[in-house]
Amino acid sequence: MSKMVPVKQSYSIVPERDYHKSPILEAHHLGIDFGGLTAVDDFNIAIGRTEICGLIGPNGAGKTTVFNLLTKVYQPTRGTILLDGMDTSGFNTVKANQAGIARTFQNIRLFKNLTVLDNVLIGLHNDINCSIPKALLRTPSYWKAEKAAKTKALDLLSIFDMQDLANAEAGSLPYGAQRRLEIVRALATNPKLLLLDEPAAGMNPSETAELMENIRKIRDTFQIAIMLIEHDMNLVMGICEGIAVLSYGKIIAKGTPAEITSNPAVIEAYLGKKEG
């Protein structure tokens, strides 16, 4: 067990209910260079166990790169990442996921030629207990494991009311449904921290409103932390308890939605440009 850290002292955006629990994720002085380009630098954050936290910033600020660092798609040049108190240096993407970080992608990366159900079942891969010999011999434990996994997959799909699409080909779904399926697949890996990269991109306002509800529902049901990158300010301000603003790879502000909207540095770097 990691020790209880009064998170509030060092980081400002963890919601009150998570104050006296150790954060699910801490990043200290995280940074990465691509050749001469410093894409992310001195990135510090702590995320509460059940927090919904936003990562915003202008295009090219380095938001997706932060996700790639946290999930070890890129190895950081500097700094440390602690997941649930555990140092993740030396982890690869697979291990990061097994340790509890799941994500969606800005450019949707579904298993397009497979069915919706198979996409979720692949997310459940490590949850299904069935060795190769058992699968080849179709022992009763194979059937039991497959059946349990299917039930679980349909349950997860029902969060977004998608269980009727189980046998549709993932690539044939409309854009919004593909984004939702990615969330379900990520959830299937049983994460402690869910990273959503622009989950509302390409969705219409009513879909976005529904998505907001569902993100909150997911947090409440699974009691996990969610960090999301989003350009839709209504969504960000509506559901995030804490927000970090990134500009040119550096955090320029952290705070509650109210603090962020009134922060002059943010208005200049980001909101100022976007909303005049």
């Binding site: 992608f105 692949i122 891969h125 490590n126 069935c130 059937w143 044939s172």
Partner: protein, 339 residues
Amino acid sequence: MENQKHISMPVRYGINTTLIVLFLIMGYVLTSSGFTNRAQTSLILQIGIYIILAVSLNVATGYLGQLPLGHAGFMAVGAYSCGIFWKSSLASALPTPISIFLGLVVAGIVAAIFGVLIGIPALRLKGDYLAIITLGFGEIIRVAIINLPSITGGTPGLLGIPKHSNFIVVYLCVVFTIVAIHMMMKSRHGRAILSIRENEIAAESCGINTTYYKVMAFAFSAFFAGIAGGLYAGFQGLLVPKSFDFMASINILVMVVLGGMGSMIGSVIAATVLTALPLLLQSFNTYRMIIYSLLLIIVMIFKPSGLMGMYDFSLSRILERILNRDFPWKKKKGDEVNV
């Protein structure tokens, strides 16, 4: 949805098993009663061997999504291991069925070991590089066989292998291969293999150990190629290194590509047709490469996913359709997916 008639799992397995047994009995009777002449029987056996080669290559190509060009190398390893075993005094001391069985198991395992050994370095590379390194492997195997005459018989060949590959032996192996691949693919391990083909980064983000599954799929594919090699040894009665050159690998690849990468039934059909054609049409062999290239070009233009695409045959699915009077041609356009 609720009122659909479903065929339950035991019934499905029952139907499929019955059909397989009937097929084996029928084939056995036809080939052993003199109904088929020698040439026809030998064609049927060759088709069986090529079916195994094609469906096993399909695991690495169609399901895993890699492009290995050394399948004949695994076949060679299996063929020589099996041939040497069957010739050994140990094998002749054993009852024939046991010696046949052990020989094929040895063939598969030795090929699978080579699959792991070559897979670990090769699968770190992608696309063209993987193709080149596996091609190199196939050639190395062939050159090694030529240069180890004391074990392999060298260029003149390994002679006097017992001709164990009759209809039942070959087609039991065909059935075993197809069933094993099917069972693998319809499990969490098979889905993991498919996820790598579909999107490797997403697969890793789902916690799938892609390195492990790549090597595993590669070895699995090599295992059956080894068995096919063993059957080939018992079919020919002699082995020469030339049979396992680069063109042999390409031949198998053409079958998989034409049949549809990722479709087992496609591989079976393509293997059958492309094995039968050259033997049925004498002139085919002269123009073989031209016809292959033309076929490939035509397929790539009109149906790049191959004859059957990724379609996989399921008898019970068809029976269910008939039971539910739900024919694809009756389906309305808007039925598909509504969101």
